[in-house]
């Protein structure tokens, strides 16, 4: 039974990757466009980072957009002021988000439940207002402009990811694959199992000799690094960094994607992001109140499928 289960898992995994690899071929004929796929990957990675905490450690951060936004500003500022290199921008964006998370995490992990969520919102908003007010550096309300992603330079040849959207999609997919692999690797490790232990029963975890606060801090910091990276990709995608990307409503969107897709599953948040992005793209061209429809869908999913969309698909296929 175990082997069959693993075989099925492998098939599903292969299916997901084939689907992702072929996006530039099947998306346009279905009425979409490749950049939409890129957006799904970037926001999906962000939602997976939130879920790294929410679904696998059991703590809800409502301020993760802060680290997403810091990643975006880090990448933008790096391209604008430091060097015309996309990879350096990604690295610095990730470091900015991750280090900010590591620092604030020391204060945040002392709280639990509602208080944890409140403190994460509060710290998140601090960054929002900094980006909003410090116009000379960040462009304030207008956002950070005046940079664009640079070709990938490998010495002998370079790849154009600026004007060729397919190339950029594959570049983002490559980055996404690495991050997803690292995430999956951590979750399968002994450390990853202590995260599950904390999610399942904090008291039991503590009385197994796990220093719970320290482990939550590590998980929090790791998720902020992933978040910073996703944010940096987002800045490259838009050639723009927006203070709204730091706002707690953006955090709420990420949580929504994770919960809608299924927070107990690794790929759920990616599905959630896909639904969110596609609905946004389609509905926002029909009505300005597109968010109401996403909201109704969200409520319906939470009420009727608490395990998320992927949870339903799984149950159906197991029955």
């Amino acid at each position: 039974m175990n082997d069959r289960f693993n075989a099925r898992k492998l098939i599903v995994l292969a299916g997901i990757w084939v689907l992702l690899l072929l996006v530039p071929y099947w998306m346009p004929p279905l009425g979409g466009y490749t950049a939409l796929g890129t957006r799904v990957l970037v926001l999906g990675l962000a939602a997976m980072s939130v879920n790294f905490l929410l679904g696998f450690t059991g703590v809800l951060s409502f301020g993760h957009a802060a680290y997403f936004g810091l990643g975006a500003y880090g990448a933008g500022l790096s391209l604008k002021f430091l060097a015309p290199s996309s990879s350096l921008a990604l690295l610095l964006g990730m470091l900015l988000g991750g280090l900010a998370g590591a620092l604030l995490g020391t204060l945040i992990v002392r709280r639990r439940g509602v208080y944890f969520a409140m403190v994460t919102i509060a710290f998140g908003q601090v960054f929002y207002y900094i980006a909003f007010q410090w116009s000379s550096l960040t462009g304030g309300d207008d956002g950070l402009r005046g940079f664009s992603r640079q070709p990938l330079d490998f010495g002998l040849f370079s790849i154009d990811i600026l004007s060729n959207t397919d190339n950029f999609y594959y570049f983002v997919l490559f980055c996404f694959a690495i991050m997803a692999a690292v995430m999956g690797f951590i979750l399968r490790s002994p450390f990853g199992r202590t995260m599950l232990a904390i999610r399942e029963n904090e008291r039991r975890a503590r009385f197994l000799g796990i220093p719970v606060e320290r482990h939550i801090w590590i998980a929090f910091t790791l998720s902020c690094f992933f978040m910073g990276f996703a944010g940096a990709l987002y800045a490259l995608l838009n050639n723009f960094a927006d203070p709204k990307g730091l706002h707690f409503t953006q955090s709420g969107d990420f949580v929504m994607m994770a919960v809608m897709g299924g927070m107990r599953s690794f790929w759920g948040p990616l599905l959630g992001a896909a639904v969110f992005v596609v609905l946004q793209d389609y509905l926002s061209s029909v009505t300005v109140n597109w968010m109401s429809f996403v909201g109704i869908l969200f409520v319906a999913v939470v009420l009727f499928f608490p395990r998320g969309l992927l949870g339903v698909i799984r149950q159906k296929s197991e029955a």
């Binding site: 951590i186 490790s189 002994p190 399942e200 008291r203 039991r204 009385f207 197994l208 796990i210």
Partner: protein
Amino acid sequence: MNLLEVRNISKTFGKLVAVSDVSLAVKPGELRAIIGPNGAGKTTFFNMISGFLRPTGGSVVFDEKDVTALPAHERVTIGMARTFQITEIFPELTVRENLRIPVEVAAGYRLSPWLSKDTDGEIRASVAHLLQMSGLTEKADRLVGELSHGDQRATEIMMALALKPRLLLLDEPTAGMGDQETYDITQLIRRLHKDQNLTIVLIEHDMRVVFHLADRIMVLAEGKMLAEGTPKEIAANEAVQAAYLGKAAA
């Protein structure tokens, strides 16, 4: 030499005195039962030993080391493991995963990003051994939350045991169990005590279990120690009988 020494420990919650000036000494290999009527302070006393609560007075000494100020998770590291009155397990993980986590933590791998093939094999073997000892092998890949109360209890005890403790603290191990389950758990505790010479302190309401297992018994009533001695002495003690019959202990 005593493995565990509790010296004149007290705990007050505001004006309520939950435990007052209680001492206890447990020798290596001993099985000590703590009994007493409801509200006697047994669980509070227990929580101070395991580090769940900080005492307002007195000290806890484990293996000649004062652990009164040590956080709970560090007491686990030096060899104290416990179970709870209401079973504390990882309900949405399988029995195997429930046991694997303490095995890995006790072996010092809680922060490891990966394990070598050899280490992984050793850990699997330890888990398999624990499963076999508890008779849970056939249910190893089921979620613990789906199992019977008795099996959940057994899992929790094995999780504590996976830590290779020198002192096992069990808070009402047979609470809420039927006759058969009570018998099974009692046999399991007896095996751990007799075969592995494990030092155990347990709180228990079921007198059949207490008199079957304990080397010595301590009786608490209204936060104070009422009596202490072998099962025979306790059975003959008039103050204890009075406390259990609800009369004034005087």
